[in-house]
């Protein structure tokens, strides 16, 4: 043997996983929801998704160059931020606003904090909230929506189902419609008003299943999140069925599925321990319901997740596993 062999520290085997592969899997998991968005909103969905993805990738590449980071855009994380931000936008939003949101998400919320792995907040959600604060009207303008019979109070509305409920309860003190099997099915397949990526629970669940199988996410956060929302809304509903919609509606309407499956599970900004993930998910669920029931906005998913992002380091610390062999010294 003429050449020396490679000497490196053990282990000499690797699972073959990589950040890029995980990100690619998340993108694959987003495909059904992208298809559903395109089906529901047509050109607007394509316009917003491409604008956000391009703007995210471009600003990621440029800012990494400026900041002298040796990593490029090949880890694909900027693509995901782009898709998820677009998913959180109303279909009529002007393209330039989507671009502003994307640049903010990547440059301010991610690269200024140190780039991939260092951002405390989910960049897509931070981008959305920034847009919501800067352009409140555009961010809450929904296209007209022909509501099929069971959901209808009037045949055409420009609100989201959650918004409809909130306004109705505030003005009349009554629910605007009853929620039954037929309405559930509509929401499930995506026949509702809303941000482009949140309308079809079915497509989002399909993506979630894929990510579970590919181990991009574990069940803990989505289950704790959705479970808490179910429990909370069930208590309200059983207590006061005239003023509260049942858990089924809460699960299927608004950005909950998108949030619970794709946003709250963002690895960088959620806890690393399994117990921490359960706490995180439950916290998201609780905050979401608080906003939906008593907050100023009809929807609370973004705020809930961002707030929980902020306490993720604390949750990690509080749920540090008991080291194998610690404490349980031989019974004295």
């Amino acid at each position: 043997m003429s050449e020396l062999a490679i000497v490196s520290s053990s282990p000499h085997a690797h699972s073959g996983s990589s950040v890029q592969r995980i990100m690619l899997d998340v993108i694959i998991a987003l495909v059904p929801a992208m298809a559903a968005a395109t089906y529901a909103f047509g050109w607007d969905a394509i316009r917003l998704i491409s604008a956000c993805v391009l703007a995210c990738v471009a600003s990621e590449g440029v800012s990494r160059k400026w900041m002298g980071r040796d990593l490029g855009v090949e880890d694909l994380s900027a693509v995901i931020t782009g898709i998820l931000l677009a998913f959180n936008l109303p279909p009529s939003l002007p393209t330039w606003m989507a671009v502003v949101g994307s640049v903010f998400a990547i440059v301010i919320c991610k690269q200024l904090f140190g780039g991939i792995g260092y951002n405390p907040f989910n960049p897509a959600l931070a981008g959305r909230v920034m847009l919501l604060i800067s352009f409140p009207v555009f961010m809450t303008t929904w296209s007209t929506w022909g509501i099929p019979a069971p959901l209808a109070v009037d045949a055409i509305t420009t609100a989201t189902p959650l918004g409809l409920v909130k306004t109705a309860i505030a003005t009349t003190g009554e629910l605007p419609f009853t929620f039954n099997g037929a309405t559930a099915l509509q929401l499930f397949v995506g026949n509702q008003n809303g941000c482009i990526g949140e309308v079809s629970a079915a497509a989002l669940l399909l993506g979630g299943l894929y990510m579970l199988v590919r181990r991009c996410i574990s069940w803990h956060i989505p289950v704790a999140y959705l479970g808490t929302v179910t429990l909370f809304s069930a208590i309200l509903w059983l207590h006061h069925p005239q003023q509260n919609l049942n858990p089924g509606f809460h699960l299927l309407a608004g950005g909950l599925m998108l949030g619970a499956i794709f946003m709250a599970t963002d690895m960088v900004t959620s806890p690393v321990t399994k117990r921490g993930m359960l706490v995180f998910g439950a916290g998201c669920g609780l905050l979401t319901m608080l906003v939906r029931k008593w907050g100023g906005y009809p929807e609370g998913v973004s705020f809930a997740i961002l707030l929980m992002n902020a306490v993720t380091p604390l949750i990690n610390r509080a749920t540090r596993p008991r080291v194998f062999g610690a404490v349980k010294k031989k019974k004295a």
């Binding site: 000499h12 900004t269 010294k329």
Partner: protein, 447 residues
């Protein structure tokens, strides 16, 4: 009594590709004497042995050539008869240099005088058993190489009730213990009875992973009639089921305290190869002069399980296995998870050389390390329930105090975290360096 399954599930663990099929069905082959043996004085944990021969001396097989230097040390014996050609420091497989004695065999393989078999070992008391084990220079042959006579002479206050024979062999590629269990089940059991007698332990458990049904059957069939409470326990195939603390937990549910030893929970664990060596030492009176090493990996022409004299160079082992084909990217002493990478085949085998693994370019990849993406995988797979993600960050920042507070010293360097990490962070490297630094700081504070 049939084989039982483990009652408890140790934390963490991974499922690497095992590649055991390469050598598993190859019966143990005895290698002829090579032209030269380079016998290290540092074959075990603890102080290296002191050479007792010098250049030009003639030695006989089984003659002491290195004396144990203190209690936690072990004697080294000449693996064959011949002439001492050199006494000098050479690099060991783990890296640091240590004195080694080079012997040129005379081809006669003459045993030293005074070998005394003792088939009626039942009459020996525990002290006599421990002495025979110490005289034979036996050390743990599975991993770290802790001197066995120390393990079998626990302090009187430690009440040992259970002896666990570790036949898990959870490292990928390695099959030496597997072959030993299939080919020498009865001897291993008798060795276990001897050790149990020394420990006054009443319970014996043999731990084998469920991917080795033949070994399970062989050990099951060979349970001796005189053993009172002996059982084969089948473990789920998972790395690192062979790690001492995890194995103890899986079988008994007892948790070895941090920084403690198995004897703190009344248990001693011995590798099956070590147990066979004990049988040889007590029943046949033979010191440890050879061991079975799995020589395997893609580039090896005919992988196998080779019984070779201690000090056989890796190059000779490879040649005995038909040489190599293709490029050799990595040479590993031991298994892929915890073994030591070697620059070349110069090293000689020791009592702990469980495997010699050659990897071709297809099995070796260079990775660029990325920032941690907090995926939590390392946390989930750590069998010690550490948080390698944050530990590695403390260590990167040279914050050894915090790392120590968060139990870096409990890391067993199993490699599960680094195996899983999608960001390809050199987590184990950080842990190793961190442990060394903490030891240094502790020593400085002590003095």
């Amino acid at each position: 009594m049939g084989a039982s399954t483990a009652n408890f599930r140790a934390p963490g663990g991974i499922h690497p590709a095992y590649h055991k099929d390469l050598a598993a069905e190859q019966p143990i082959a005895e290698m002829p004497l090579p032209a030269m043996l380079v016998v290290s004085m540092s074959q075990h944990l603890g102080k290296p042995a002191e050479p007792t021969v010098k250049k030009g001396d003639t030695v006989l097989r089984g003659q002491v050539i290195g004396e144990a230097a203190g209690f936690i040390s072990a004697a080294v014996h000449a693996p064959t008869s011949g002439t001492v050609k050199l006494v000098a420091a050479v690099a060991t497989a783990a890296g640091p240099r240590a004195t080694a004695i080079t012997i040129v065999p005379d081809g006669e393989d003459t045993w030293v005088e005074g070998i005394t078999p003792c088939p009626g070992w039942q009459t020996l008391d525990k002290k006599a058993i421990a002495e025979k084990i110490a005289a034979a220079g036996i050390t743990g042959m599975g991993g770290a190489g802790f001197p066995t006579h120390v393990k079998v002479s626990p302090p009187p206050e430690a009440e040992i009730d259970t002896l666990i024979l570790n036949g898990a062999e959870c490292e990928p590629y390695l099959t030496a213990d597997y072959r030993l269990m299939i080919e020498h089940a009865a001897r291993i059991w008798e060795g276990a009875l001897i050790i149990a007698k020394a420990l006054e332990a009443t319970t014996i458990r043999v731990a084998i992973e469920d991917n080795k049904p033949q070994a399970i059957a062989a050990m099951q069939d060979a349970i001796p009639a005189e053993a009172k409470d002996a059982q084969v326990v089948v473990l789920k195939t998972e790395y690192p089921q062979g790690a001492e603390k995890q194995q103890i937990f899986a079988i008994t549910g007892r948790e070895v305290p941090c920084g403690g030893l198995p004897l703190n929970v009344g248990i001693v664990v011995e590798n099956v190869g070590t147990t066979l060596a004990v049988w040889e030492a007590v029943v046949n009176g033979l010191p440890l002069t050879e061991r079975v090493t799995t020589v395997t990996g893609g580039p090896i022409a005919t992988p196998g399980n080779v019984k070779a004299r201690l000090g056989t160079s890796y190059a000779d082992l490879v040649e005995f296995c038909g040489g190599t084909s293709g490029t050799i990217s990595k040479i590993i002493s031991g298994g892929p998870m915890m073994g030591f990478a070697q620059p070349d085949l110069a090293c000689g085998t020791t009592k702990t050389t469980s495997g010699l693994l050659l990897l071709g370019p297809d099995a070796v990849q260079a990775y660029e390390s990325m920032p941690c993406i907090s995926c939590g995988r390392c946390v989930g797979v750590c069998p010690m329930k550490l948080m390698p993600n944050e530990l590695s960050q403390f260590l990167e920042a040279e914050d050894y105090e915090t790392a120590e507070a968060y139990n870096v010293m409990d890391c067993i360097e199993c490699g599960c975290c680094a195996f899983e990490c999608p960001a390809h962070r050199p987590l184990v490297q950080h842990m190793r360096r961190g442990k060394a630094q903490v030891m240094l700081i502790r020593r400085k504070q002590a003095s």
